[in-house]
Structure formats: structure tokens, C-alpha cells
Symmetry: C2
Subunit: 334 residues, 2 copies
């Protein structure tokens, strides 16, 4: 394999000149640059990205740590990140952390050792210590969706609290007289904000009881289990706001298995806006986040940080939108 | 940051000894190893995985190139790979190639430069040239699911041809009198084998016509578009074998939109066995691949190749299984 020395020799220039061409820093006149590029081509020289990484140069790679690629929300987010990255000449490496703190730490370590230029992190378990470390390592960081604070890095997320309120109000508007909430793990700021939003609206009504808030996981089987629990506590419930769309799909499935009609007997509203909500029967009403745009924005911010070495920390909270479908079709008022 | 020299100095041993401890090769007595480990701890020395990569040592990282993480088949496959990798002390880096040849080539290049120990590839566009190059680079390779040949690397896939035949026979057995096939892109060996399987059974029947084979994409909207085309060609069709489960979900959605009842008017069978088939209404009959096990097997083989440097090339074809659900519930014979 050709080395940088071989290229320099063939081009008749110094190794330092080749390096300047490779890393696009320092002045090289265009004739010399041409000679170097021609020599690289002739020798099929591939600049070693890792070695350049070692020397503190950019490697053109971004790490994206996702908590659960089996939740369609994250592949859609990843698509936005990848499209922007590609347009800017970066490739994206994915890690799937399963929402497990130790795995996330491990992936950060692995990515750092692979000399990536920055990390986009969609996680609940990033702790202050990790952030401080990345700051010391001078590793640009953007946190997507789930961050609880926004010190020392930029955060992109959507308006979970407001969106939850929209969902509950919508269920009441269509005539529901008792609305429950199936909520996700409270380590996740998204799950927490949506629960807060539910409570903020529901607590003012006579039908409200804390036992209408049912814990669960952000998965289909999580929704199925939670709806079972709900029906045993409150057989008279007629509206469900699920903490995310997968839970809503699970709740729908659980209700169907029991022969309960949606929306006639119980109306359901999810959160996220994944495309599976259109596959469900009936199609699911959901509070849609601008998923793809969140990914795009996160990538744009990260790349800007990488390219300008700017240490800005901003919080971007994107608007959500209620998409009404058959699962909350207007009910006859009781 | 501490270097290997600092560790050697503090431990009072040679750099070569520290290297032997790090890479677990060559003899080091346990007292010396203890001293070295203590020095590493004291200095917070982190063996630089990339530098070790440069020196030809293992980095403990596997690359997994997936064609489309928005198809739930692949996250489930990835889960199998990750679980086995984790048990063996490897971490997995994912790349999402969108079934695009140029992107796949790019990811191979990126992964190679990141000094990974091996690649698992689920692709249709891997060409002989890429394979030869990886062979020259001595990069262990396992190809999952979609490979067209199995020279120079091991292949894990399931019995697509046989599975397709099972699907068509099943639709005929439940009383369908005219069975169509919505097939996926023919660059994919899986799509090709399933189409072959369909034809192999269907061509013996009087109702068969090549126009019953409708091209489409392995996505939900691909199934929706293909079923539209099918109904315009053959309004009297009463059985559909879709090339994968996402297409089957799309076909189901398309039929529902037109008010056509499944399975009463048209029965549907998919292929893959993703869990979304249980969410559909009616639940979808499918030819299930052992998805998770395929991922596990691929990872086991790759790790064995990495650890033993064995250049074996084997083909593993796993059995598939018909799972009958409501979308092909027994029809009244006409």
C-alpha cells in the first residue's frame, strides 16, 4: 500500500506539503496541489482516516447513538441525520444502546477510540460525568430528544409537555368522560414531560384519579400490558392517551383481543407520528413530532460545531401537531 | 494522557511486556501482569484501540451493514448479532446503506479505516471486486440473508425458495382459485428466490398468467402500489402472496381502502415473520424466517473467523415456517 512518503516522492514535494493538501490547511499553490492529487491517484493512495484522526484532524465520521432501533421513531430520525450528513460529506456510524446506561458509556468509548468528529446522542442515561469527559475530549455533542438539561451541549427535542396537553384536550373534546394515560419509563424526559402534560389537564376534572396513570414501556407489548392493568383498575375508561405510538398500538391490540371497540367504546391517541399509526385498524390519532426534521437539525448543528469548533449550547424545541384519525372519531356525547 | 511507555516505566517492565498483557498474546507471569494492570489503572491508561488496530491487533469491534433499518426485519437481525457480540466482548457498529451500492462501498471503506475486526453484510450489491478487496485486506466477512454466491465468505440465509412454495400451496389449500405474487426488487436474491418459488408452484395451474406477478418494493407503500396494479390487471384475484411482510401490510391497507374484505374476498400471506404481522387487522399469515437466530449465527461465525483466522466459507440455509393467522382463515370453497 502506498504511503504519504511515496506520494511526496512521486509528486516531488515534501511530506508536509502532501499533508497540507490532505487536510486542506495551510497554503499550497494549485499547481502543486494538482501534482499531489495526481500522484495520490496514480498510487491509489488512500489517506488513512484513523492516522489522520490520531493527528487531530477530521475523519468525516459522525457517531449516532440510538436507544432502540426497533422503535420506528429512531430509524426515521436516523434518516434525517444521515441525509444531512451525506450532503456535507460525513458518514454516520450507528450504535444501538437498548436504553442501557453501561452500553451507552461503552459506545461513547468505542466511538471516541474510532476517532469520530462528533456524537449525536438520543439517550436518557447520559450523566454529567460523561458530558464533562466529552467536553475535556473536545468532542462536539448534540443530544436528541431525550436530554434532561442542556448544559455544555445543544439539545434538539419537541414540545412533549404541550403535545400531551393537546392529546388529552382532544380526547375530552370528542366526548370522552374519563381519560387515562399509559406512560413510559420516567427516566426518560420525554415520558416524564408527557405524563406532566396529562396530569396538568386531567387533574382539574372530577373523574381524575392518580390510578388512571399506568406505568409501562415504550413498546407494543408495554402498551398491551398497561391497557390490561388499566381495564382492571378502571373498566369504565373511555379515552386513552398512550405515551408513544408503539404503546398506543399495543393498547389497541389489547382492547381488540377483549372485544372492546375503538373508538366506539374507548378512543385512543398516541404520540410520535410514526408511519405505523396509519397501518393500524382503525388508523391511530397521534401527536406527531417532526421526526425527520429533528434528525436533520441535530446533524446540521453538530456539523456546524465540528466545522467551526464553536462551543455554543442551544436548546431547540420543535412544535408538535395533532393528527386526528379514526381512533378518535367523534363520539356521540353521553 | 498516559502512554504505553509510561505504563512500562511505572510497572518496571519493558514496553513489549505491556503490549503482551494488552493483547493477551505471549507469556507473561501473573505477578508481572498484576504490576502492569495496576500501573495502567494508576495512570488511567486507556489502550488506544485505533493504534492497536494500526499494529494489526484486534479492536473488539464488528461492523454490521444493513440495507434498511426502517424494515423491522433488520433491527431484529441486529439484535441477534449484538447479543452474541456482546457475550464475546465485541461491540457492534451499524451502518444503514439504503440498499444503495455506492453507500455500501463507502461504508466498507469507512469501516476498514476505523479498524474493525470483521464485517457482517446484509446486501444485494456486494460485487466480486469488493469481496476480493476484503479478502486481500484479510477482513473476515459474513454475508447475511441476501448474498447471491458464497465464494470467499460465509453466508447465512433462510430457505426463500421453499418458503415461497409453502405460501402458495397454503393459499391454494385454503381454497384460493387465483393466486398472485407481489415481488420485490430482483437485484435481491431473496426477492428472486421467492418469485421463483411462486412460479414453480403456480405455473402448473390453468389460472396462471405471468401478469399475476407484480413488481414492487419491499416497503409498505411498495405493497400498496403493487396491489393497485394487481387489481387493475386481475380484479378476480382471491389470494396474494406478498414478497415480504411490509408489502403484505401495504397490500392489506390497499385492499381495505377499496373496501375489499381480507380474508373473505382476498387472502394474504407475507414473508419474514416480523412482529408487525401480529398488529395488523386481520393478523397476517406469514412465512417466518428465524430472524434473530440468523443474526446470532452470523455473529458466531464471524467471531470464530476473527478469533481463529480461519478462512472457511460455508453456506447456512435455515428453515422457514408457515405461521397461519386470520388473513388466510379457511375460506368457503367456491
Amino acid at each position: 500500500m502506498a504511503t504519504i512518503r511515496d506520494v511526496a516522492k512521486l509528486a516531488g514535494v515534501s511530506v508536509a506539503t502532501v499533508s497540507r493538501v490532505l487536510n486542506k490547511n495551510g497554503y499550497v499553490n494549485s499547481e502543486t496541489e494538482q501534482k499531489v492529487r495526481k500522484a495520490m491517484q496514480q498510487l491509489q493512495y488512500e489517506p488513512n482516516a484513523v492516522a489522520r484522526g490520531l493527528a487531530g484532524k477530521r475523519t468525516g465520521t459522525i457517531g449516532l447513538i440510538l436507544p432502540d432501533i426497533s422503535n420506528p421513531f429512531f430509524p426515521e430520525l436516523a434518516r434525517g441525520v444521515e441525509d444531512v450528513a451525506q450532503r456535507s460529506g460525513f458518514t454516520v456510524i450507528l450504535c444501538n444502546s437498548d436504553d442501557q446506561g453501561p452500553k451507552e458509556k461503552l459506545y461513547i468509548e468505542v466511538l471516541k477510540k474510532k476517532y469520530i468528529d462528533g456524537i449525536i446522542f438520543a439517550s436518557n442515561t447520559l450523566v454529567q460525568e460523561d458530558i464533562e469527559q466529552m467536553k475535556r475530549d473536545n468532542l462536539p455533542l448534540v443530544v436528541l430528544d431525550r436530554a434532561s438539561s442542556h448544559e455544555a451541549y445543544s439539545v434538539v427535542r419537541s414540545k412533549n409537555f404541550e403535545g400531551a396537553k393537546m392529546a388529552v384536550k382532544h380526547l375530552l373534546e370528542i366526548g370522552c368522560s374519563k381519560v387515562a394515560h399509559l406512560y413510559g419509563p420516567q427516566e426518560l424526559i420525554t415520558a416524564k414531560d408527557r405524563l406532566r402534560g396529562y396530569e396538568d389537564v386531567a387533574k382539574h376534572f372530577g373523574w381524575f384519579s392518580p390510578s388512571l396513570m399506568i406505568p409501562g414501556y415504550f413498546r407494543i407489548d408495554g402498551g398491551m400490558a398497561a391497557v390490561e392493568e388499566l381495564l382492571s383498575r378502571h373498566p369504565d375508561v373511555d379515552g386513552i392517551f398512550a405515551g408513544n405510538d408503539l404503546m398506543a398500538l399495543g393498547a389497541l391490540k389489547g382492547l381488540k383481543r377483549r372485544g372492546i371497540k375503538v373508538p366506539e367504546q374507548i378512543a385512543i391517541c398516541g404520540f410520535d407520528g410514526i408511519s405505523l399509526t396509519e397501518i393500524a385498524e382503525p388508523e391511530l390519532t397521534t401527536v406527531a413530532q417532526p421526526i425527520y426534521e429533528m434528525g436533520e437539525l441535530a446533524a446540521s448543528i453538530l456539523i456546524q460545531k465540528i466545522e467551526t469548533a464553536a462551543a455554543v449550547s442551544e436548546l431547540f424545541e420543535l412544535d408538535v401537531k395533532l393528527i386526528q384519525r379514526d381512533s378518535t372519531q367523534k363520539k356521540v356525547m353521553r
